[in-house]
Chain length 132, copies 2
Protein backbone atom coordinates (compact mmCIF):
# COMPACT_ATOMS: atom_id res chain seq x y z
CA UNK A 1 0.00 0.00 0.00
CA UNK A 2 1.27 3.41 -1.00
CA UNK A 3 -0.23 6.88 -1.24
CA UNK A 4 1.11 7.46 -4.74
CA UNK A 5 0.37 5.62 -7.95
CA UNK A 6 3.36 3.41 -8.78
CA UNK A 7 5.25 4.38 -11.94
CA UNK A 8 4.46 1.01 -13.52
CA UNK A 9 0.72 1.83 -13.63
CA UNK A 10 0.99 5.38 -14.97
CA UNK A 11 0.65 4.12 -18.56
CA UNK A 12 -3.02 3.40 -17.75
CA UNK A 13 -3.72 7.14 -17.77
CA UNK A 14 -2.46 7.40 -21.36
CA UNK A 15 -4.90 4.73 -22.55
CA UNK A 16 -8.70 4.68 -22.75
CA UNK A 17 -8.75 2.74 -19.46
CA UNK A 18 -12.03 2.85 -17.58
CA UNK A 19 -12.23 3.63 -13.91
CA UNK A 20 -14.81 1.94 -11.74
CA UNK A 21 -15.78 4.58 -9.22
CA UNK A 22 -17.41 3.67 -5.92
CA UNK A 23 -19.27 6.37 -4.01
CA UNK A 24 -21.48 6.22 -0.93
CA UNK A 25 -25.27 6.46 -1.01
CA UNK A 26 -27.09 8.52 1.68
CA UNK A 27 -27.44 5.40 3.90
CA UNK A 28 -23.71 4.57 3.53
CA UNK A 29 -24.16 1.67 1.07
CA UNK A 30 -21.76 1.65 -1.87
CA UNK A 31 -22.58 2.37 -5.52
CA UNK A 32 -20.27 1.70 -8.53
CA UNK A 33 -20.22 3.18 -12.03
CA UNK A 34 -17.73 3.20 -14.91
CA UNK A 35 -16.10 6.57 -15.50
CA UNK A 36 -13.54 8.21 -17.74
CA UNK A 37 -10.54 9.50 -15.84
CA UNK A 38 -7.16 11.13 -16.12
CA UNK A 39 -4.46 12.45 -13.85
CA UNK A 40 -3.13 15.82 -12.74
CA UNK A 41 -0.06 15.77 -10.54
CA UNK A 42 -0.64 12.91 -8.08
CA UNK A 43 -4.43 13.24 -8.23
CA UNK A 44 -7.02 11.40 -10.31
CA UNK A 45 -9.65 13.52 -12.04
CA UNK A 46 -13.11 12.32 -13.02
CA UNK A 47 -15.92 14.27 -14.69
CA UNK A 48 -19.68 14.07 -14.19
CA UNK A 49 -22.68 16.40 -14.33
CA UNK A 50 -24.34 18.33 -11.53
CA UNK A 51 -27.26 16.53 -9.92
CA UNK A 52 -26.34 13.00 -10.96
CA UNK A 53 -26.29 10.37 -8.27
CA UNK A 54 -22.51 10.17 -8.07
CA UNK A 55 -22.30 13.98 -7.98
CA UNK A 56 -24.74 14.10 -5.05
CA UNK A 57 -22.91 11.23 -3.34
CA UNK A 58 -19.46 12.84 -3.61
CA UNK A 59 -20.78 16.21 -2.35
CA UNK A 60 -22.33 14.49 0.68
CA UNK A 61 -19.45 12.13 1.51
CA UNK A 62 -16.09 12.65 -0.24
CA UNK A 63 -14.82 9.12 0.41
CA UNK A 64 -14.44 7.20 -2.85
CA UNK A 65 -12.54 4.33 -4.42
CA UNK A 66 -11.59 3.97 -8.07
CA UNK A 67 -10.15 0.92 -9.79
CA UNK A 68 -8.63 1.61 -13.19
CA UNK A 69 -8.29 -1.35 -15.54
CA UNK A 70 -5.94 -1.92 -18.46
CA UNK A 71 -8.18 -2.06 -21.55
CA UNK A 72 -6.11 -4.88 -23.06
CA UNK A 73 -5.66 -6.96 -19.89
CA UNK A 74 -8.43 -7.00 -17.28
CA UNK A 75 -6.08 -8.78 -14.84
CA UNK A 76 -3.92 -5.65 -14.67
CA UNK A 77 -5.34 -2.76 -12.66
CA UNK A 78 -4.67 -0.19 -9.99
CA UNK A 79 -6.96 0.26 -6.97
CA UNK A 80 -7.07 3.71 -5.41
CA UNK A 81 -8.88 4.85 -2.28
CA UNK A 82 -9.02 8.40 -1.01
CA UNK A 83 -11.13 11.52 -0.64
CA UNK A 84 -12.45 13.92 -3.25
CA UNK A 85 -10.52 17.06 -2.32
CA UNK A 86 -11.99 19.44 -4.89
CA UNK A 87 -15.29 19.70 -6.79
CA UNK A 88 -15.35 22.41 -9.43
CA UNK A 89 -17.16 23.53 -12.55
CA UNK A 90 -14.08 25.49 -13.63
CA UNK A 91 -12.63 24.07 -16.89
CA UNK A 92 -15.01 21.12 -16.62
CA UNK A 93 -16.21 21.50 -20.22
CA UNK A 94 -12.64 21.58 -21.53
CA UNK A 95 -11.87 18.57 -19.32
CA UNK A 96 -14.73 16.44 -20.70
CA UNK A 97 -13.55 17.33 -24.22
CA UNK A 98 -10.01 16.15 -23.38
CA UNK A 99 -11.42 12.90 -22.01
CA UNK A 100 -13.56 12.54 -25.15
CA UNK A 101 -10.39 12.80 -27.24
CA UNK A 102 -8.76 10.02 -25.22
CA UNK A 103 -11.76 7.67 -24.98
CA UNK A 104 -13.62 8.30 -28.25
CA UNK A 105 -11.01 10.09 -30.38
CA UNK A 106 -13.46 12.94 -30.98
CA UNK A 107 -12.75 16.62 -30.42
CA UNK A 108 -15.90 17.43 -28.53
CA UNK A 109 -18.11 15.51 -26.10
CA UNK A 110 -21.00 14.13 -28.18
CA UNK A 111 -23.48 13.50 -25.34
CA UNK A 112 -23.66 17.03 -23.98
CA UNK A 113 -27.16 18.18 -22.99
CA UNK A 114 -28.13 21.85 -23.13
CA UNK A 115 -29.08 22.03 -19.45
CA UNK A 116 -26.18 19.99 -18.09
CA UNK A 117 -23.45 21.48 -15.92
CA UNK A 118 -20.19 19.52 -16.10
CA UNK A 119 -18.16 19.06 -12.93
CA UNK A 120 -14.60 17.88 -12.23
CA UNK A 121 -13.83 15.86 -9.08
CA UNK A 122 -10.25 15.65 -7.86
CA UNK A 123 -9.46 12.42 -6.00
CA UNK A 124 -6.38 12.38 -3.78
CA UNK A 125 -4.93 8.86 -3.49
CA UNK A 126 -4.41 7.71 0.10
CA UNK A 127 -4.22 3.94 -0.40
CA UNK A 128 -2.99 2.55 -3.70
CA UNK A 129 -2.43 -1.07 -4.69
CA UNK A 130 -1.67 -2.50 -8.10
CA UNK A 131 -2.24 -5.93 -9.55
CA UNK A 132 -0.64 -7.54 -12.58
CA UNK B 1 -34.71 0.90 -11.00
CA UNK B 2 -35.83 -2.65 -10.47
CA UNK B 3 -35.02 -5.41 -8.01
CA UNK B 4 -34.45 -7.98 -10.72
CA UNK B 5 -31.87 -8.07 -13.48
CA UNK B 6 -33.60 -7.17 -16.76
CA UNK B 7 -33.73 -9.96 -19.34
CA UNK B 8 -31.68 -7.89 -21.79
CA UNK B 9 -28.62 -8.02 -19.50
CA UNK B 10 -28.76 -11.72 -18.64
CA UNK B 11 -26.41 -12.53 -21.54
CA UNK B 12 -23.62 -10.89 -19.50
CA UNK B 13 -23.65 -13.91 -17.16
CA UNK B 14 -22.91 -16.24 -20.05
CA UNK B 15 -19.80 -14.27 -21.04
CA UNK B 16 -16.49 -13.69 -19.26
CA UNK B 17 -17.82 -10.32 -18.06
CA UNK B 18 -16.03 -8.87 -15.06
CA UNK B 19 -17.87 -7.54 -12.07
CA UNK B 20 -16.54 -4.53 -10.18
CA UNK B 21 -17.45 -5.22 -6.59
CA UNK B 22 -17.62 -2.42 -4.03
CA UNK B 23 -17.48 -3.34 -0.36
CA UNK B 24 -17.18 -1.20 2.77
CA UNK B 25 -13.98 -0.82 4.79
CA UNK B 26 -14.16 -0.79 8.63
CA UNK B 27 -14.49 3.02 8.62
CA UNK B 28 -17.31 2.93 6.03
CA UNK B 29 -15.19 4.07 3.06
CA UNK B 30 -15.69 2.13 -0.16
CA UNK B 31 -13.27 -0.30 -1.80
CA UNK B 32 -13.55 -1.74 -5.36
CA UNK B 33 -12.03 -4.84 -6.94
CA UNK B 34 -12.67 -6.79 -10.15
CA UNK B 35 -14.29 -10.19 -9.58
CA UNK B 36 -15.55 -13.14 -11.53
CA UNK B 37 -19.27 -13.68 -11.09
CA UNK B 38 -22.25 -15.75 -12.14
CA UNK B 39 -25.90 -16.07 -11.31
CA UNK B 40 -28.16 -18.48 -9.43
CA UNK B 41 -31.88 -17.78 -9.54
CA UNK B 42 -32.18 -14.00 -9.14
CA UNK B 43 -28.96 -13.73 -7.12
CA UNK B 44 -25.41 -12.89 -8.18
CA UNK B 45 -22.64 -15.15 -6.86
CA UNK B 46 -19.03 -14.11 -6.38
CA UNK B 47 -16.13 -16.15 -5.02
CA UNK B 48 -13.19 -15.10 -2.86
CA UNK B 49 -10.97 -16.61 -0.17
CA UNK B 50 -11.33 -16.46 3.61
CA UNK B 51 -9.38 -13.62 5.22
CA UNK B 52 -9.04 -11.39 2.17
CA UNK B 53 -10.03 -7.79 2.55
CA UNK B 54 -13.28 -8.13 0.64
CA UNK B 55 -14.13 -11.28 2.62
CA UNK B 56 -13.61 -9.41 5.90
CA UNK B 57 -15.55 -6.42 4.57
CA UNK B 58 -18.59 -8.46 3.47
CA UNK B 59 -18.69 -10.36 6.79
CA UNK B 60 -18.66 -7.06 8.72
CA UNK B 61 -21.11 -5.14 6.52
CA UNK B 62 -23.12 -7.05 3.90
CA UNK B 63 -23.95 -3.97 1.80
CA UNK B 64 -22.29 -4.21 -1.61
CA UNK B 65 -22.59 -2.97 -5.17
CA UNK B 66 -21.47 -4.78 -8.30
CA UNK B 67 -21.29 -3.42 -11.83
CA UNK B 68 -20.94 -6.07 -14.53
CA UNK B 69 -19.54 -4.92 -17.85
CA UNK B 70 -19.92 -6.39 -21.32
CA UNK B 71 -16.43 -7.57 -22.32
CA UNK B 72 -16.92 -6.38 -25.90
CA UNK B 73 -18.59 -3.04 -25.13
CA UNK B 74 -17.60 -1.14 -21.96
CA UNK B 75 -20.54 1.25 -22.50
CA UNK B 76 -22.96 -1.61 -21.83
CA UNK B 77 -23.26 -2.70 -18.21
CA UNK B 78 -25.61 -3.52 -15.38
CA UNK B 79 -25.31 -1.90 -11.94
CA UNK B 80 -26.59 -3.89 -8.98
CA UNK B 81 -26.86 -2.87 -5.34
CA UNK B 82 -27.99 -5.09 -2.51
CA UNK B 83 -26.91 -7.13 0.48
CA UNK B 84 -24.85 -10.30 0.69
CA UNK B 85 -27.49 -12.71 2.01
CA UNK B 86 -25.32 -15.84 2.31
CA UNK B 87 -21.61 -16.51 2.87
CA UNK B 88 -20.65 -20.17 2.58
CA UNK B 89 -17.70 -22.48 2.00
CA UNK B 90 -20.08 -25.19 0.75
CA UNK B 91 -19.38 -25.99 -2.92
CA UNK B 92 -17.04 -23.00 -3.10
CA UNK B 93 -14.24 -25.06 -4.70
CA UNK B 94 -16.58 -26.40 -7.37
CA UNK B 95 -17.87 -22.86 -7.89
CA UNK B 96 -14.41 -21.37 -8.50
CA UNK B 97 -13.74 -24.17 -10.98
CA UNK B 98 -16.96 -23.33 -12.86
CA UNK B 99 -15.93 -19.67 -12.96
CA UNK B 100 -12.47 -20.70 -14.16
CA UNK B 101 -14.11 -22.55 -17.05
CA UNK B 102 -16.05 -19.45 -18.03
CA UNK B 103 -13.27 -16.89 -17.58
CA UNK B 104 -10.13 -18.85 -18.48
CA UNK B 105 -11.53 -21.89 -20.29
CA UNK B 106 -9.63 -24.17 -17.91
CA UNK B 107 -11.12 -27.04 -15.93
CA UNK B 108 -9.57 -26.20 -12.61
CA UNK B 109 -8.64 -22.94 -10.87
CA UNK B 110 -4.92 -22.44 -11.54
CA UNK B 111 -4.17 -19.99 -8.69
CA UNK B 112 -5.31 -22.16 -5.78
CA UNK B 113 -3.04 -22.02 -2.71
CA UNK B 114 -2.76 -24.97 -0.34
CA UNK B 115 -3.89 -22.97 2.70
CA UNK B 116 -6.69 -21.04 1.03
CA UNK B 117 -10.35 -21.55 1.89
CA UNK B 118 -12.66 -20.55 -0.95
CA UNK B 119 -15.93 -18.81 -0.11
CA UNK B 120 -19.10 -18.04 -2.10
CA UNK B 121 -21.04 -14.81 -1.47
CA UNK B 122 -24.65 -14.55 -2.59
CA UNK B 123 -25.73 -11.02 -3.49
CA UNK B 124 -29.46 -10.30 -3.60
CA UNK B 125 -30.25 -7.48 -6.04
CA UNK B 126 -32.34 -4.67 -4.51
CA UNK B 127 -31.61 -1.85 -6.97
CA UNK B 128 -30.73 -2.68 -10.56
CA UNK B 129 -30.08 -0.30 -13.44
CA UNK B 130 -28.73 -1.07 -16.88
CA UNK B 131 -26.94 1.10 -19.40
CA UNK B 132 -26.44 0.52 -23.11
Amino acid sequence: MSNIIPEKYLDLFGKPAFGFLATLMPDGAPQVTPVWCDREGEDVLVNSAKGRRKDLNMRRDPRVAITIVDPVNPYRYVEIRGPVVEITERNADAHIDRLTKKYLNLDSYPHRRPDEVRVVYRIRPEHVAGMG
